[in-house]
Every structure is written in structure tokens, then in C-alpha cells.
């Protein structure tokens, strides 16, 4: 599904990743651990297509495509989802409106029709229940005034709605209390399937007690060791 080969990345001439190799097969869950500043978010951001990073060497292949050729939104439409370490607030745009636009943009990309309003509503309520999120959060502006834990939960809700093929979860467990960790893990586990792969970035072993990975990698100094 995903094959990262000898990836070198720098920001403003400063080298951050120095030859990452990572292969993720369909259905696999990989955990990446590592100290602060080791480049974990950089790796997930580069896979998701964020601007501002320079790939100086290496390649990323995704479902047989050269991922580096695709724009961020195309990667998303191809099924890559990033749960952000620091989810962004978007004032005035409701969670629901954003998700509906996101969903329809992806459906359009895939040549599908827009989702019917009624079906969308049913789906989002069902997924909100899955991550135990009160329905009133659906009408609130994206992440605005959400607590740290609520933001993380909201990321998982979005993942559940968008049904990615490859989910990158960047420290989704950070800042969660034990109950929230359980619900979020439950949500993530419910999405595990033989076709869906996941990369979990975390600092804590305890997440891996709830979401049991197939592989654990350690990233240090821009390399997987």
C-alpha cells in the first residue's frame, strides 16, 4: 500500500529526515515512536503532502502511484487521511458543513454522485455515536473552542466519516484521559479492516495496549532504527 524508500527531507536547507524506509501493507497497523523533534510529524506531513518540505532524495509510492506527484487534496481523495497532532480551528464553518464538503469533494474525485442530505445526516450521527461525541458538536464550528481531547475525538470522527485507505494518526492519544483513550481506541479499532492500513505516531506504550500494532518502529535523528 505505502512504500517509503530512502526518504530525505529538509526544511529551509536543514535536514530533518535522513533516509526513512517504511513499508505498510494493506490491513497492517504500524506504530512509530520516538523522542520529541525526531521527525515523526514531518514524516506524516510529507506523506499527506504539506507544503514547505523539500524532499531531497528518495520516493514514496502509494497504491502503485508516485505520491510526491500528487497535490495534498488529491492524496486525500486517493484515501490518505491525517489525524492532526494539533487540529486547526476554522471559525464559522460547522463540523457538518466541512465534512459534507470534504465527502462530496472526494466522491466527485472518484466519479461518484454527491451524498444525499438525509444519508449524510444518518451517517454522521452514527459515527458520532461510535466516538461517543455529542451531536451538538456536529453543529459547532470546526474545532473552535473544543478542548484538547474533543479535538482529537473530532479527528477520529472525521476519519470514520471519510473512510480512508491509509490513516496517519499523529499523537491522537496525547492529552486524552483514560476514558477518552478507550473510546478513541475503540473508534480506531472499529475501523481496522484488511483493506485499511494505519500508521500510529505516539509517545506512549499505553495506546498500543488498546490498539495493538503489527509493527513498532522507533524514529530517532531522522531515521527509523
Amino acid at each position: 500500500m505505502l512504500k517509503v524508500t530512502n526518504l530525505h527531507v529538509s526544511i529551509d536547507g536543514k535536514s530533518i529526515l535522513n533516509g526513512i524506509n517504511l513499508e505498510v501493507k494493506p490491513g497492517e497497523v504500524h506504530a512509530i515512536m520516538g523522542p520529541n523533534g525526531s521527525g515523526k510529524s514531518t514524516l506524516t506531513n510529507v506523506i499527506a503532502g504539506r507544503d514547505g518540505y523539500e524532499v531531497t532524495q528518495g520516493s514514496i509510492e502509494y497504491l502503485g502511484k508516485d505520491l510526491l506527484e500528487l497535490a495534498a487534496e488529491e492524496r486525500a481523495c486517493e484515501g490518505i487521511f491525517l489525524a492532526f497532532q494539533y487540529p486547526v480551528e476554522i471559525p464559522g464553518v460547522s463540523n457538518m458543513a466541512m465534512l459534507k464538503a470534504a465527502m462530496n469533494s472526494m466522491r466527485k474525485y472518484r466519479g461518484q454522485e454527491e451524498i444525499k442530505a438525509g444519508d449524510f445526516l444518518k451517517l454522521i450521527r452514527q459515527k458520532a455515536d461510535l466516538v461517543e461525541m455529542k451531536h451538538e458538536f456536529l453543529k459547532r464550528a470546526v474545532n473552535q473552542g473544543f478542548s484538547g481531547g474533543e479535538k482529537k475525538r473530532n479527528e477520529i470522527l472525521q476519519m470514520a466519516m471519510l473512510e480512508p485507505k491509509l490513516a496517519l494518526l499523529d499523537e491522537t492519544d496525547s492529552g486524552l484521559d483514560i476514558d477518552a483513550l478507550k473510546t478513541v481506541s475503540h473508534g480506531v479499532n472499529a475501523l481496522r479492516s484488511p483493506e485499511r492500513s494505519m500508521v500510529l505516531v505516539t509517545h506512549y506504550q499505553r495506546l498500543l495496549d488498546y490498539i495493538v500494532p503489527d509493527y513498532v518502529h522507533v524514529l530517532a535523528n531522522g531515521k527509523i532504527i
Partner: protein
């Protein structure tokens, strides 16, 4: 219904990227236009053309003589070459006056024009609950739904006709909110206004539909001087929509309208504008100069007036819809989105004059500047001596796109009563890379992501618009912002 701003339903992205002014076409209709120039004789001729009662001519002449003595205002935060008032033609009417009873009798080219603008009258007539009074250049061409309205006792007609049919109402109210000497452009308008809309809602009547007028400037070098007068009697309610477009031309065109609203006891008037006049090209060539005086008088106790505006067009916008809160417990509201792109300049805001007791006002202003656009909010909240327990809440937010545009905020406050309670908030922000990436990661393209963020920024204003108008306003912003990022 489809409110008549843009027919953007299935727009092609490529076409969008070109960001052409969509309403830029000229209708080729024989018209009866005065030679450019302005003197007393022109004023007399306008009045004669319209077969006006004597008091109206007197009113115009008085205004004209005042105007001659007034200096052109120069204090707004905008910059433009001096207007040569002698080079403007002050009257332009389609030559064949269409009949008012049947669409068949309207010049097909006119109907075509409306269709291009997205106001198929026929369709609207059948499917929508909106009465349209379209103003083509200076003469109102057609009023729909007049029957339904007249059953309710509502008068909705071109002001030129109202002068024939209800001269006593015009005489009573015209200039009662915006006196002729109020300002330079208001005086000019009073002298030469050609047409506009008149609305009268009798006591206790809730107008059964949204009233809509549609302005469009067509003739070359004609200034458009609209005059609108809306009266809501005791306990009446009306929601009025105004949409504006103009064809694309190299020369600047002047638009100097006056709108007066009067709300009696317990009455409410909601006035919404979506303004999309031609803004000029990216170098600032052409475009409309939009110098407008809009004022509402909350005359009776418990009356309410709301102004909601979405201003995306015009080369220059100079506009301060205001409320005079005379009745006790009366309420004034101003919700505004103003967008400037390329070389556009906007100086807009409101005045809330509190006179009665327990009066309250709300001001929500959202300015968006892109390219070299300059956006100024200028507002005055004035609490007079007798206005015990007056309240005002003001919020002025600016969104900047790029680093060559500007946003300026001038909130003026004058308080003469110590019981007043005023709150003011202001923010300036930029669309962040983080927000853009977040939305792209959710599958939205750059354009869609930007427009979603901008729409979110404007939400507090859009939700005040009638639903369909809000949809059109969003589309308009989308189109107006083409090429603003990247």
C-alpha cells in the same frame, strides 16, 4: 427560488479562473438619453418627462440649488480622480415604454438581459414568492406580483408611478429621513433622481412575500440616481432585497442612490443588499463609483430596522446605512460583508443614532481585502442625552489575503448619556497555511478551501440574509475572490 445575482450553478473551474466580470454585457436597446450636462433646465426636463406634480419639481429645484453650493466630500478613506458632473447624462430611459400588464409586451431584449442576469421574471413569477421591481437604467420596467400585494394592501411600485398615484404619501415622506441638504450626493440625487422603488405596508400587515428590486446600469455615461422609499405603518413587517449589477465598461460610472426607511410603532423593516456593480479591471480601469446614502428612521416605539449588505462590486464604495433610533425600545442592526480585490476601495460602515430610551443597536462588520484592495470600516455610535439605557454592540473583523491589501477601522463614539452601555470588539486576521492544509487534507481544493474559510468568516452576516440570497452571496464571494490566493 434563485435570487438574481449569479447563475453560477454549474460553473466550469477554468472559466472561473479567468475571473471575468459575469454581468459585463451591454444591451442594445434604443434609448432616450439626455445630452451630458447638468443645469436647472435638465432638472426641469427630468421632472417634465415624468409628468411630475408641481411640488416635486419644487423639491428638485431646491435640492439642485443647494447642491450647487455644497463642496464635494473628501474625507472618506478613498482615492479617486475628480468626477466631472457635466460629462454625465442625467436621464436615460428605454424608448419604447413596455406595457406593465403582460410580459409579452416587454422588449424581448430586456427580458434577455434579465435572463442573463439570472432573473427570469416569468420563472420568478410562477415559482417564487418574490415580487420583483426591476430598474433598467432609470425607468422601472415591470412590477410583478402586484395583485397579490395589493390584496394585502401593500403598495410596491416604481417611485415615478407612486408620484402619480399616491402623491400625498410621497409628499409626506420623501426627504423626511434623508433631507436634501444632508450631503453632497443626497442633494444631487434629490435634484435628478430618475426612478426607484416605493413600498408602503399598511398598519398591522406582514408583507406576504419578500420584495426584491434589481438595479442595473446600462447606458454609457449615465449616472444612476435611484430613490427608494419604504414605509412600514404601525405593526407592519417587510423584508426587502436589493441586488445590483452593471455592465463592464472602461469609463467609470457614477451611482448615487438614496434609500429612506420609516418604521412606525412596532414595525420592522429588513433591508438586504447584494451589490455586485462592475469593480473595474485588475489595474483599476473602469468600474462603478457607488456613493449611496441609506438611512432608516425607527420613528415609533419598539420599531426595528436591520440593514444587511454584501458588497463585492464597485471600484469605489462609499456607503453608511444608518439607523436613527427615535422611538423608545427601538432596535437598529447593521450586518455587513465588504470585499475588495485588485484596486477596489471600500469605505463603508454605519451610524447608529440613539435618541429614545432603551434603544439598542448591533453592528457586525466583516471586511475582506485581497490584492491591492483597501477596505475601511467607518462607524459612528451616538448616544443622545435622552437615550437612557442605550446599548450598542459593535464587532469589526478584517480578513487580509496577501500582503498588499489594507484594512482600516475607524469606530467613532459620542456618548451624551452616562447610562449608555457600549461594547466594541475588533480583530484582524489572515487565512493561515494551517487552515488551508487542514482543509486540503480533507479533500478540498485550494479554491474550495479558501471560500470555505471566507464564508466561515462571514457567517454572522450571511445568516441574516434570506436563505436563497445567502447562497447567492456565497457564490458571489467565491467568484470575486478568484485568483486572490496562490
Amino acid at each position: 427560488m434563485s435570487a438574481p445575482i449569479l447563475n453560477e450553478k454549474n460553473k466550469d473551474l477554468k472559466e472561473l479562473v479567468k475571473r471575468e466580470y459575469k454581468e459585463g454585457f451591454v444591451t442594445d436597446i434604443e434609448s432616450d438619453t439626455f445630452e451630458p450636462g447638468l443645469d436647472e433646465d435638465v432638472v426641469r426636463r427630468i421632472s417634465a418627462k415624468k409628468n411630475e406634480p408641481e411640488f416635486m419639481l419644487e423639491y428638485r429645484l431646491k435640492a439642485f440649488r443647494r447642491w450647487l453650493k455644497m463642496p464635494e466630500p473628501g474625507w472618506a478613506h478613498i482615492d479617486y480622480p475628480k468626477i466631472d458632473f457635466q460629462s454625465i447624462a442625467y436621464f436615460s430611459a428605454p424608448k419604447e415604454m413596455p406595457q406593465l400588464d403582460s410580459l409579452d409586451q416587454v422588449d424581448p431584449k430586456l427580458l434577455e438581459t434579465y435572463a442573463k442576469l439570472g432573473i427570469p421574471l416569468e420563472e420568478q413569477k410562477m415559482m417564487n414568492n418574490v415580487a420583483v421591481d426591476a430598474v433598467f437604467d432609470s425607468v422601472s420596467v415591470r412590477t410583478t406580483f402586484r395583485e397579490t400585494l395589493s390584496k394585502a394592501g401593500v403598495i410596491f411600485m416604481p417611485i415615478s408611478e407612486a408620484l402619480q398615484e399616491h402623491p400625498e404619501l410621497i409628499k409626506q415622506y420623501l426627504g423626511s429621513v434623508v433631507p436634501t441638504q444632508d450631503n453632497y450626493y443626497a442633494a444631487l440625487n434629490a435634484a435628478v433622481f430618475s426612478d426607484g422603488s416605493f413600498v408602503y405596508i399598511p398598519k398591522g400587515v406582514r408583507c406576504p412575500m419578500e420584495l426584491s428590486t434589481y438595479f442595473r446600469i446600462n447606458e454609457m455615461n449615465t449616472g444612476q440616481f435611484e430613490r427608494t422609499l419604504i414605509i412600514a405603518e404601525e405593526g407592519a413587517y417587510v423584508s426587502y432585497l436589493e441586488g445590483c449589477t452593471a455592465p463592464q465598461r472602461d469609463e467609470n460610472q457614477l451611482h448615487a442612490a438614496v434609500v429612506e426607511l420609516v418604521a412606525h410603532k412596532d414595525a420592522e423593516i429588513k433591508y438586504s443588499t447584494v451589490q455586485n456593480w462592475y469593480p473595474g479591471d485588475e489595474n483599476g480601469k473602469g468600474g462603478i463609483y457607488n456613493f449611496v446614502t441609506k438611512r432608516g428612521l425607527c420613528k415609533g416605539d419598539n420599531s426595528k430596522i436591520s440593514w444587511t449588505q454584501v458588497e463585492t462590486g464597485s471600484a469605489i464604495t462609499w456607503k453608511y446605512p444608518s439607523c436613527v433610533l427615535q422611538g423608545d425600545n427601538s432596535v437598529g442592526e447593521f450586518y455587513s460583508v465588504a470585499l475588495t480585490h485588485n484596486k477596489q476601495q471600500a469605505d463603508t460602515g454605519t451610524k447608529m443614532i440613539h435618541m429614545g430610551k432603551n434603544t439598542s443597536s448591533t453592528i457586525i462588520s466583516k471586511g475582506i481585502s485581497a490584492g491591492h484592495g483597501h477596505n475601511t470600516y467607518r462607524g459612528l455610535v451616538k448616544i443622545l442625552k435622552g437615550a437612557d439605557n442605550a446599548r450598542n454592540f459593535s464587532q469589526c473583523d478584517s480578513l487580509l489575503m496577501g500582503d498588499q491589501c489594507g484594512a482600516h477601522t475607524f469606530p467613532y463614539i459620542e456618548v451624551q448619556n452616562p447610562t449608555a452601555n457600549l461594547e466594541h470588539e475588533a480583530t484582524t486576521s489572515k487565512i493561515s497555511e494551517d487552515q488551508l492544509f487542514y482543509l486540503k487534507q480533507r479533500g478540498l481544493g485550494e479554491e474550495a478551501a479558501v471560500s470555505m474559510i471566507v464564508n466561515g468568516f462571514c457567517k454572522d452576516v450571511f445568516r441574516e440574509l434570506p436563505m436563497e440570497f445567502a447562497v447567492e452571496a456565497q457564490k458571489l464571494l467565491e467568484v470575486s475572490l478568484e485568483g486572490a490566493v496562490g
